[in-house]
Amino acid sequence: MAIKNVNLWRSIDWITIILYFVLVTFGWLSICSATYDFGELAELDLLSFDTNTGKQLVWIGCAMIIALILLNVEKKYYEMLAYPVYFGFVLLLAATIFVAPDIKGSHSWLVLGPIRIQPAEFSKFATSFALARLLSTYGFSMEKRADIAKMIAIVIVPMLLIVLQNETGSALVYLSFFLVLYREGMTGSLLAVGVCAVLYFVIGVGQSGNYLESMPMVCVGEFIVFLLIPLITALMVGIYGKRLSHALWIAGGNLIGTFIAWLFSRYVVPFDICIIQLILCACTALYLLYIYILERYASYLLIALFALGSVGFYYSCNMIIDKLQPHQQMRILVLLGIKDDPSGVGYNINQSKIAIGSGGLWGKGFLNGTQTKLNYVPEQHTDFIFCTIGEEQGFIGCTFILLLYAFFIIRIIMLAERQGSNKFTRVYGYCLASILTFHLFVNVGMVIGLAPVIGIPLPFFSYGGSSLWGFTILLSILLRLDAERESRFR
């Protein structure tokens, strides 16, 4: 014990700690600025505990204490407690659904007297634990069905529970664990399928309201998606199949078929050529099935299933859109440019873009932002905190913060990678890196109008104790795990 305590001081990664403190400090200053209403409140009030700024200072203090405690817990206890902590949190998440009061339609906050805690923010580290524990188990293999099932269950269960709490945004964060699984050997084609799904969704739903000018019967979204499906299928056949000629047949057949249909519709009888495209897709699948039977090569069957699945996915997208809650539906539609309504849901994004745009190169200076102060930007100290940076620190400030994040995340990846054969720490480190990446991507993407408006916080910047504590806990445990790496090598 004593030896390890001495080691901690020497072996802990100070670069990460410095980056953490820089981020937290900038975060706190941003909250000061976002909360500061140049007006009735005097400047001194910034430190009063009645304001968000003062409270955030308290949360930061508490986070430090928590970090100090966690840094002093040995790795073996973490490994030991991984599953119990995970199951504890799963139960807590389940209980929260029923216990939590309704706050703006979500049932995710546990109210303990004056304190409100969001278990979903903490269950991330529990899930990371469980995943790290599972993957580092002796004999675990990505090839074993049972192991894959366990792996996916660990991610999916808390995710579903959080969806049931009506916190879809927080649940989506769990998708980032698939990046970890990819690093640990999950097949890359799954990621490719994911990318295709996003592509079909964005194009299919985004263009569903537009029709070809020359052929008013043909929906642009449907047309493009049905053109993409056989082409991507052909690409996959080209990569994974045995002979390139199959791929060329598929691509050529579909393009020529569509073109003939287009000519016929244009000059003979106008009709919805998507029907022909659909038939061509079916033909492609049948063709793949045929060469599968002929050549007995499993990839063809899978690709055929992918083609059919793509068509099914496209059709279910419109239905899923209907199933989403109205505000989520609207947010997705606004992002895709379908409902551009400045005073409606698009208002938030519009105002945040104006605020950031008005920052220019150097920004307006600390506490000088007008857009973020005069209540134009909503949620300016929580989800939209990045606006304050954009307006007051300008392009230079934003770039600095983004690079700081990139450096921070890459540093964590480096920590994870330097663990040698210690898989537990590596998986855990990747979990943290993936979660941070996802938060950064969605939050900043949302504020600058690139990602859907999903209410998840910007780590270390957004106001709120749960988020700050959640990330501090994740990070301090990683630092402790990393600090013990040398003890193995020594």
């Binding site: 007006g39 950031i356 000088n368 954009g390 770039t399 990678e417």
Partner: protein
Amino acid sequence: MNNDYRYENRKFVMVGIVLAIVTVFIVRLFNLQILSDDYKKHAESNAFLNKTVYPSRGVMYDRNGKLLVSNQPAYDVMVCMRNVKELDTLAFCKSLGITREFFDKRMSEVKNRRLNPGYSSYTDQVFLSQLTAEDFAMFQEQLYKFSGFSIQRRTIRQYSYPVAGHLFGDLGEVSKKDIGKDDYYVQGDFIGKQGIESYYERQLRGEKGKEVLLRDAYGRVKGSYMDGRMDVAPIPGKNLTLSLDIELQALAERLLQNKIGSVVAIEPETGEVLCLASSPAFNPQLLAGRRRGENHRLLSQDKQKPLLNRAIMGTYPPGSTFKTSQALTYLQEGIITPETKFPCALGFRHKGLHIGCHAHSSPIALAPSLATSCNSYYCWGLYRMIGDDKYGSSQAALTRWKDHMVAMGFGYRLGIDLPGEARGFIPNAAFYDKWYGKRWNGLTIASISIGQGEVTLTPLQIANLGATIANRGYYITPHVVKDIQGEALDSLYTIPKYTMVEKRHYETVVQGMREAVLNGTCSEADLPGIEVCGKTGTAQNRGKDHSAFMGFAPMDEPKITVAVYVENGGFGAVYGVPIGALIMEQYLTGTLSEESEKRAKEIQQRTIYYGDQER
């Protein structure tokens, strides 16, 4: 554990993803913050304050060039909360003549974001609006003591005469609906709410200009941008010349005092309205400035409805004034000739129907029937017309009759350039079919021939009937605006509209109306040296009869047509004729004789008691 190293290269994919995301974001930010003009424009709207410069509203003159409605400076007291420091509240309240309680109330109202959504402690907020120059003088002297307070100049309407409130209308703050209809307006703008102010809003308002000012991060104005080269000067509103003779209007309103009713005078040749009085009236100044809301509430709660412009909104049975239109119709349709005589034995008696009349010789011809206002003559006329075989059916005959009425300007809005005109009512065949189930004839509906029963007209329509007769067969849609600065009048107000009756028949009716003045019901209207034509009306209703008069003068070259309608005034000769005569005398001679002035005073003081029912 060998597996571990197989996928090690995937760490580069992870790093790649992070770098890709950050790169995309930085490119996007570069676009938003440095390249994109779109968001820069929005950003500029923060840095540049586009201050609206309001044009002066067009003024109004009467037909003789007298200034009626003009603009007077008024002042809003503005407050910028952040700059209010060490305020001597007592001195402040004293200088504005307000109480401490009112001061506290206003300050909290201004700061309340729910009541004042655009509140910011950095920008000027309205503390008190529309102070007059007198209220403001004392405050201005001490303004330097009250830091954070400032003055914004604006204008309010000033009226030279305390009359014609119904005609001028008033200005009020735009409603959400107004803003929705026309995006020229923004919250806090003023718009014409009634009368001419409303009807000619587009001409009167002019075009707003703008002044581009520089504003720092705190919303403080730092001066003009590019020496005002971006500024746009406001275009002042167009001035209006009304067809009104303000002296005549004042006399009409004076004569109607203590009574409910209207006086309408029209120049027949042009359709120009010379006066359009409705009583009870109100001083237009009441609805300008700070006390508008309060005064408007008081006026709208008054049971006698002073805000109602009865001259165009009130619909009444026209009574005997309507007989002229009937005589014209029967003549044109060949039902009667000027020589046709009908019996009258103290009224119309036929098949059990009796409509009373007064004593006069019988049988009676057309001209004397107008002079003595015989009811029987017109009942016979209508009875004959409805029963005439040439139309085929009662329905067809009534349809023909209705077409005549509509051509004379009844049953539909005339189209005067004032909002809220009523259309009155002229029954048609379908109406009676529904009412009586097709079993009706000339007897059933006889009362409409004497301007009773279902027929209702507005006083304006009665006056217009007079103008048609004076013109011998046509009218020009009555209008109150004679000339718009730099703009032609709507052709509606210049093109004559002909009735379906020939000119010669009009001459017959004019003779009858002249007869009525010389030795009939209107003898009181016989002005010395002026050939007046007239027709009284006594309209029965639930209460006491309404007193009406319609006339024009001089007979051969008519200069003025007058319609008078006094609710519950009794016989037409009691109020209608003397008021009509005084209006004609004033207009044609430019003044009232000593004797007439005495009469005018006497009529002015006569009061009709209406009780306290809603009217």
